[in-house]
């Protein structure tokens, strides 16, 4: 059984179709990268996989539960086996880093405080922040904040870990550190990992499979070699970083000419 399966997912915002009948199976223990440009619908897909929004039609099945058509209580049970690291890290600014990581353990488990301390310390150690537990989130750098968010996502020992743009806004070195962290987690904990990104080097470093999104539909889903050697024109365009037809000097001159000759200006 696959860990996550997306079936005929259709999402519309104000009559505009954002996701157009997506189908995707993410297997247990694999790293799936959802790759796509801005506006391709990759973040929307992630928000539906973690159950933050309900689709217009279709379903998302996580570990056998259809999270689009289940009760709030069932959804919360599924959510306890998922960890999410948000794009902006989304650390709770009113609490220290330690308390952020401990929040889930304090509220959703009956563990004693010394045990919670130990688990928090271990999770912070995994992401390399063991000494920074007492700081407040605004005191951390961008990369540290994202790693702290990973530690918080790890707190309840999730089977599925999801990342929204882990390397956005980070310098290449810190972004690479995050990639290594994702690989480490996969190796150590055998987690199912879903990463939404538009960064090619990062995608090719961490992925087992890549799903290429374009305007709300999958162009191609395959291993990283299949994507790298793809013949699909839009996939090639993304990988070769070819710009779309933008304005050129000649086209701007032509537009200007057209404007001068239009009836409103000649009156």
């Amino acid at each position: 059984m696959s860990a996550i399966s997306v079936r005929n997912l259709v999402v519309e915002y104000g009559g505009r179709r954002v996701l157009d009948g997506l189908n995707l199976e993410i297997e247990q223990g694999e790293t799936m990268v959802l790759l796509g440009g801005s506006g391709s619908g990759k973040s929307t897909l992630l928000r539906h996989i973690i159950g933050l929004e309900r689709p217009n039609s279709g379903s998302v099945v996580v570990k056998g539960t259809d999270i689009c058509h289940c009760s709030e209580a069932e959804l919360n049970t599924v959510r306890r086996s998922m960890g999410v690291a948000f794009q902006s890290a989304a650390m709770f600014n009113s609490m220290s880093v330690k308390d952020n990581v401990a929040l889930n353990l304090r509220e959703h488990t009956e563990l004693a405080e010394p045990v919670i301390d130990l688990v928090v310390w271990m999770n912070l150690a995994v992401v390399g922040l063991a000494e920074f537990g007492d700081l407040q989130p605004p005191e951390l750098s961008g990369g540290m904040k994202k790693r702290a968010a990973v530690a918080r996502a790890l707190a309840l020992d999730p089977e599925i870990l999801l990342f929204d743009e882990p390397s956005a806004g980070l310098d290449p070195i810190v972004a690479a550190e995050l990639d290594e962290l994702i690989l480490l987690l996969k190796e150590t904990f055998h987690m199912t990992i879903v990463v939404v990104t538009h960064e090619l080097p990062s995608a090719f470093r961490i992925a087992d499979r890549i799903a290429m999104l374009y305007k709300g539909a999958f162009l191609q889903v395959g291993t990283k070699d299949e994507i790298r050697n793809s013949k699909h024109p839009q996939v090639r365009q993304f990988i070769d970083r070819t710009p779309d037809n933008m304005a050129t000097a000649a086209s701007i001159a032509a537009e200007f000419q057209k404007y001068l000759e239009s009836p409103e200006t000649s009156e």
Partner: protein, 267 residues
């Protein structure tokens, strides 16, 4: 003509939608309230409630007290300048005592709290929406209404009536000081007159009002926060809207309650 009808129609629908949103949020908050209670609820929510009580109630007291002293003094002076002409200076005592317990105490408190805390709620929750903290809460299987709103609502329901009573006392004290300096009426005698001029109904009606005002201030402030879309500028806009709308609704509710008390003869 059609456009006018359209605009009236869509404006009405927007307002109905807003009121619907407020009622839905109130219903959800009432369902989540037991978790914030001590002993029977979740101890973390109770702790948050106590923190909110300090913030909404204790920290607001100096400001509310000063406002009440000034208003009591103003009311006494304005009343005295007219009543003196009829030789009815002692009616200033009734004016201040009844005016504060029925009306000014709850109203002044609500306006002060809406400016201090209503705006703070909108800004806090709005920032949490923008930085994805609300999404993170939901993904971690917490209900934002229960986690964020319920402690604030419980705290407001307890502290705002208390503040109103203190506001009444300060206002009436100011009236007493005025009477002492203008007619050498001793404070002890003044308070004896005050007690004979107000009845239990006045105090209860004032408390009913202040519970209603607490509900309006908290729910408008929080709803404005949850409705933030876009970015930081959205937070600014909803902070302003929180104060404007809650002050407006407090005064409308005051009129409605006063009318009910007047026409049912309980005043």
């Amino acid at each position: 003509m059609a456009t006018l009808a359209e605009r009236v129609g869509s404006g009405t629908l927007d307002h109905l939608g807003y009121v619907g949103g407020l009622n839905l949020q109130l219903w959800k908050a009432l369902k989540a309230m037991p978790t914030a209670l001590p002993f029977v609820g979740n101890r973390h929510r109770w702790k948050a409630s106590v923190e909110q009580m300090l913030e909404i109630g204790v920290n607001a007291f100096p400001m509310v007290a000063l406002m009440a002293l000034c208003t009591g003094f103003i009311l006494a002076m304005q009343g005295a300048s007219e009543l003196r002409r009829f030789g009815a200076l002692h009616y200033v005592i009734d004016l201040v005592a009844v005016g504060f317990t029925r009306e000014l105490g709850p109203l002044l408190t609500a306006v002060a709290v809406s400016g201090r805390s209503g705006s703070a709620f909108a800004a806090e929750i709005g920032t949490m929406v923008v930085t994805e903290e609300i999404d993170a809460l939901r993904v971690m299987a917490f209900e934002p209404i229960e986690f964020v709103l319920a402690p604030k609502y419980l705290a407001a329901l307890i502290t705002i009536p208390c503040l109103s009573i203190l506001c009444n006392l300060c206002g009436i004290l100011a009236g007493g000081v005025f009477m002492f300096f203008s007619t050498r009426l001793s404070l002890l005698l003044y308070f004896r007159y005050v007690l004979s001029s107000i009845v239990l109904h006045d105090v209860i009606n004032g408390l009913i009002k202040s519970v209603a005002f607490a509900t309006i201030v908290v729910h408008v402030g929080c709803l404005e926060g949850f409705r933030v879309r876009g970015g930081p500028e959205g937070v600014g806009r909803s902070t302003t809207a929180a104060v404007v709308k809650s002050t407006f609704l407090v005064i409308v509710a005051d009129a409605v309650f006063t009318a009910i008390f007047y026409f049912t003869g309980t005043q």
